[in-house]
Amino acid sequence: MSTTVTAKVRTPVRPARILLHLFLAGTSLAWLAPLLWALYSAMRPYAETSEKGYVSWPDKLTLDNFTNAFTQSDMGHYFVNTMLIAVPAVLVTLFLSSMVAFYVSRFDFRINLALLLVFTAGNLLPQQVIITPLYRLYLLIDLPGITMSGKLYDSALGLVLIHIAFQSGFCAFVLANYMRSLPHELTEAALVDGASVWRMYWQIVLPLCRPAMAALGTLLSIWIYNDFFWALVLISTGENMPITSALNNLSGQYFTDNNLVAAGALLTAIPTLIVYFLLQRQFVSGLTLGANKG
């Protein structure tokens, strides 16, 4: 089909194609400009920019700001904090929501629709609607010896739990749709052969969901890594902060040194960029798999 169309229009369209490429290349560059500007600022010494201004030719480009931002503000520590939150949150969210999805999509219980509705709607609520009571609840729950703060508040565990609770709404919805598309005969045959429900889930359905799980996993990693709001409200000690909210502190400390802040911001973005470039396909298919996501 496309051959007929392109064959038909190829000759007259040539200059239009060049124009299109020029347009797209120009727009892409303009789109990247804020990031390139940040990179340029981050690569220049503070002394030089404070003397010559930021819009000036560089005498010297260095990576010092990156190393300084990393060491002075202890970014490694905050990266570890983020990992301690994101890794369990992503894995447990996928695990729990796949179980819910299995339940509602492979069986015909009467509450299925209501259950899925509860999960889906929950994920569409703005976070601020639930934050005030959640904050109070976290302060009430004592966990002496389990978390550093002795409470759910100000702990990685607290953030992991709210990420799981909130994101499982989205994942349950997407996975339920996915599992519904798998042929019913698969599980029926297993059931007739006497396989337990758990086996059906773990050995038959779950392996078939691998593409959807990979897509959701990529998406969740980026979302949870990027979270700013939950950590801002539910973590009070600087030490316990994940990287995005720690960056907020860094900029407060070094607010005159824009070069350092630029370097810090770019360093913070690097892990998500790596994930995106490595798993681009999964990420994009995850987004559109759940285009209903808010």
Partner: protein, 326 residues
């Protein structure tokens, strides 16, 4: 919080629906009849545990917000909770100088996102869908901001807007004292400055959604339209765009919800100070600010909830109606 979920677990594994065994339903029914008691218990736990967590942290707190909106509470001990009826709302609507600007800004946020980045994203998607070379490279450039944290985006754009060291003022020579254009501090400018950054990110998001929608358009439609001699614009307007209806619905819902959730960018820019108030910021200020007025903060959250429900309910109704049919 547990009552809600414990009622769910026994219900979770009921006997198959009695009677009305249409041939269509017989398969899953027979399917379920094979379940042993142990299987039913497993299933109950599989659905029950995630539900307990989700309901406890999301729904119980959402309902608690509604309840607390009718009280005053300083947060210290439960005995200081006092029922005050609609007083919080009355004060909010009549006596809070930040409330109506916040509502207005949330609306502006939505209108701006739907008028500029959404059509732009659609336009870029249509261009990138033409099977051109380097499509991936262009896509990546437009999509990169979507991958980054909004907090990071806030810092990156501050390097552009900063009054004395920022890119814009340096370029136009407005970085001398006395000639400042204060993009972040001026209440007439700051919301628009932030919205440009927000649109920058939103465009890529919209582009990806529309690209996915365009991939689903039946190629024979395009072919037929080309054979009929329609030009590019006519084809798009009369053939392609109407088939994007499901994508448009998603885009509308996503954009409204993004506008209601908007928070990170504003917080990083100027903490929602003059000119950039948002409902989400007002709620948060009641928690992390020095004043802890829980009932009052909850009342703002309830307003936010009511606005969101206007979008969420019709959306869910249409989505789930489709599902039931499927």
């Amino acid at each position: 919080m547990s009552s809600e979920t414990t009622t769910k677990i026994p219900e979770a594994a009921p006997a198959p629906p009695p009677g009305a065994a249409t041939p269509k339903r017989r398969v899953p029914q027979g399917h379920q009849r094979l379940l042993t008691r142990r299987d039913r218990l497993t299933l109950g736990l599989m659905a029950g545990l995630p539900t307990i967590l989700h309901v406890a942290l999301v729904w119980v707190t959402a309902f608690a917000s509604i309840a607390l909106a009718f009280t005053t509470w300083d947060g210290i001990g439960f005995d200081s909770i006092k029922w005050v009826g609609f007083d919080n709302f009355k004060e909010l609507f009549t006596n809070n100088p930040q409330f109506w600007p916040a509502v207005e800004h949330n609306i502006i946020w939505f209108v701006a996102l739907i008028l500029i980045p959404t059509p732009l994203g659609l336009f870029l998607a249509v261009q990138l869908d033409k099977q051109i070379r380097f499509s991936r490279v262009y896509q990546t450039a437009f999509f990169l901001p979507v991958v980054m944290s909004l907090a990071v985006i806030g810092f990156v754009w501050q390097l552009i807007y900063n009054p004395d060291t920022g890119l814009i003022n340096s370029l136009i020579g407005a970085n001398e004292p006395g000639h400042y254009i204060d993009w972040i501090g001026d209440p007439d400018l700051n919301l628009w400055a932030i919205l440009i950054a927000a649109s920058w990110r939103h465009t890529g998001y919209m582009m990806i959604l529309y690209l996915a929608g365009l991939k689903g358009v039946d190629p024979s439609l395009r072919e037929a339209s080309a054979l009929d001699g329609a030009n590019e614009w006519q084809t798009f307007k009369n053939v392609i765009f109407p088939t994007l209806r499901p994508t448009n619905t998603v885009v509308l819902v996503v954009t409204i919800i993004e506008a209601l959730r908007a928070f990170d960018l504003v917080f990083v820019f100027n903490k929602g100070a003059e000119g950039t108030e948002l409902l989400s910021i007002l709620v948060t200020n009641n928690i992390i600010g020095e004043s802890s007025r829980i009932g009052y903060g909850s009342a703002i959250a309830v307003v936010l909830l009511l606005i969101s429900l206007v979008v969420i309910i019709p959306y869910l109704v249409s989505t789930f109606r489709k599902e039931r049919r499927a």
